[in-house]
């Protein structure tokens, strides 16, 4: 299986030096060879359709006699609504760059509309 460092870096929104590309490529090949051992685990056709749906707490809720979806909904309804959010000032205090009028500060980023 071909692992394209350039393609994955692009998808991950990172850029790598030539040296990183070389090192990472060799390391990824080793790691992927290692994780290929998962192919030793057989999957029955009836298991395949639900394969990615695992949720770690479902078994805990079932063991406690609770319906996970119902429980999460109820808890959200009861508790999650009454929370204080960050104020504008608090949200902006860690911003690398802000701009705008005093009292109406906003995050500042490079222009995304190019001038014609």
């Amino acid at each position: 299986m071909e692992f394209s460092v350039d393609k994955v870096a692009k998808l991950a929104y990172v850029s790598l030096t030539q040296e990183q590309k070389k090192t990472f490529k060799a390391q990824f090949e080793d790691i992927l060879k290692y994780v290929d051992q998962l192919n030793e685990v057989p999957i029955k056709p009836e298991e395949a359709k639900d394969m990615g749906k695992f949720h770690v707490q479902t078994a805990f809720y079932k063991a406690l006699g609770l319906d996970p979806s119902q429980t999460l909904r109820e808890e959200a309804k009861n508790e999650d609504l009454n929370q204080t959010n960050l104020t504008n000032e608090e949200a902006l205090q860690n911003a690398p760059k802000t701009g705008g009028l005093p009292g109406e500060l906003m995050y500042e980023v490079p222009s995304i509309i190019e001038r014609g």
Partner: protein, 481 residues
């Protein structure tokens, strides 16, 4: 008596004022931090002000005035929070994490921000631009990771307790390398609100302490449902302190996973020997030993490095140089700003994991890697839960290696990942586990073992680990710092 319990007693007996205590204590912290690099920040000024105020108050809170180290993944309001990464250089937490709030309400003082691997990604506390964290028993060796600073600050008496996070063994491994006790609670037992996310379905906050009793004291304070974290479960918190006071192994069925013990060729011989001795101790104390099978647990590392990296790739997408974190000066367009900021801000291990996760989630590979890993993860959990129908607890080693020489695995990440072979499956299954010292080598290095419990069975773990500790007291060596 552990350091936490001992200091609390001295404070309650009014042997000294908090101000007097901290004036001396910070001298020790600075001296030992030079050698170990356990703390990235030390909060002397803030703590001395707090101590002066607290000296006027009654000393009845459970953790009144006690010094704690907090991993640099957990928010303390208005203090630096960086995940040991350049990406978050200069960031200050706008609010407390729930666990910090609970510790503070119980009277704890935060003396320092504990070193860790960048974004908790590592097993050696070497993956950080702020310097390696050294093992206090041998400074050339690793402290273990990722919560290396949290383990070292307790082992070197620079705190009586600390908090770490455990995504694949990051509390138990450093606790093991530093000769102290560390607990990874059940997923959902402790709130993750205010904790920097690495892999959200695996991360869990837990305590590190001098002994089992101290560890129970801390979990008692931080455990319980929190409305700010929907994955924290509304399950009553047991009496952990009471459980430690009733140490019990007699009659307990303890499972020994045959997959962990059948091939010890890759395990250090000293670790193998100490684990055999530990199993003898369990037997002598009346535990009923039974072989159990966790057929898919050996696939844990493969599953973990697909699931955890996929979640990391998603969680770390928020670091774009816009709202917080490092912003590159080399920017033209918004897209370039994001790419350059991420590439400059993250270290190699973080980049490696983001890319591996991105790959396993990408079109064409999602079914073969991520979905398959999730499927095997479900088998790992099912096998653990089936085993707990036959046994009360499971015993396992923590790590196949002794604390390794600093730098020895840096060019071979796969070898480093294999340090977690006995710990990751517990996170995949969401279960609680406690690691504790079982022996000490002639080279002055600690060796630990772990007990694993069924979901929300932390009290049973504390009771059994406490019985083990009493039956097999481990004499520590000489600190090297």
């Amino acid at each position: 008596m552990g350091a936490l319990t001992k200091l609390r007693k001295e404070l309650r007996d009014k042997k000294f004022s908090l101000t007097e205590f901290y004036q001396d204590y910070f001298k020790k912290i600075y001296e030992r931090n030079k050698a170990t690099n356990a703390y990235l920040s030390v909060y002397e000024d803030e703590v001395l002000i707090q101590a002066k105020e607290a000296d006027k108050k009654p000393r009845d809170l459970p953790l009144f005035g006690l010094p704690f180290g907090i991993k640099d993944m957990i928010s303390i309001k208005n203090r630096p929070l960086q995940a040991s990464s350049w990406m978050l250089e200069g960031y200050r937490a706008p609010q407390h994490a729930t666990v910090s709030e609970r510790l503070e309400n119980a009277g704890a003082f935060f003396v320092g921000r504990a070193n860790c691997d960048e974004f908790a990604m590592g097993s050696s506390n070497e993956n950080t631009p702020y310097g390696v964290c050294h093992n206090p028993w041998n400074l050339k060796r690793s402290s273990g990771g990722s919560s290396g600073g949290s383990a070292v600050c307790v082992a070197a008496d620079m705190a009586v307790g600390s908090l770490g996070t455990d995504t694949g063994g990051s509390i138990r491994l450093p606790a093991n390398f530093c000769g102290i006790v560390g607990m990874k609670p059940t997923y959902g037992r402790v709130s993750r609100s205010g904790v920097i996310a690495f892999a959200s379905s695996l991360d869990q906050v837990g305590p590190l302490a001098d002994d089992v009793e101290d560890c129970a004291e801390i979990l008692q304070v931080i455990a319980g449902r929190d409305g700010r974290d929907s994955t924290s479960m509304d399950v009553p918190v047991d009496d952990y302190i009471g459980a430690v006071k009733k140490p019990e192994l007699k009659g307990l069925k303890v499972g020994l996973p045959k997959e962990f013990f059948e091939d010890t060729s890759k395990m250090d011989p000293e670790i193998s020997k100490q684990n055999e001795k530990a199993i003898e101790v369990l037997k002598k104390e009346g535990a009923i030993l039974k072989e159990v099978s966790l057929k898919h647990a050996p696939y844990g590392i493969a599953v973990y490095y697909l699931v955890a990296t996929a979640e990391a790739a998603s969680n770390l997408a928020r670091y774009d140089g816009v709202r917080y974190g490092h912003r590159s000066e080399r920017q033209g367009s918004l897209k370039e700003l994001i790419i350059q900021s991420r590439s400059e801000g993250f270290g190699d291990e973080v980049l490696r994991r983001i890319m591996l996760g991105t790959f396993s989630l990408s079109a064409g590979y999602y079914d073969a890697y991520y979905q398959k890993a999730q499927f095997v993860r479900s088998l790992v959990q099912q096998e653990y839960l089936s085993a707990f129908k036959e046994v009360d607890l499971i015993y396992a080693p923590v790590c196949p290696y002794l604390p390794f020489e600093i730098g020895c695995h840096q060019q071979d990440p796969l070898q480093m990942y294999l340090a977690d072979i006995f710990t990751v499956s517990v996170n995949l299954a969401g279960l609680p586990a406690i690691s504790f010292p079982i022996g000490w080598t002639d080279q002055n290095l600690p060796i630990g073992g772990q007990l694993i419990g069924n979901a929300f069975q932390e009290a049973k773990l504390f009771s059994a680990a406490s019985a083990f500790e009493k039956a097999n007291p481990v004499t520590r060596g000489q600190l090297a710092c």
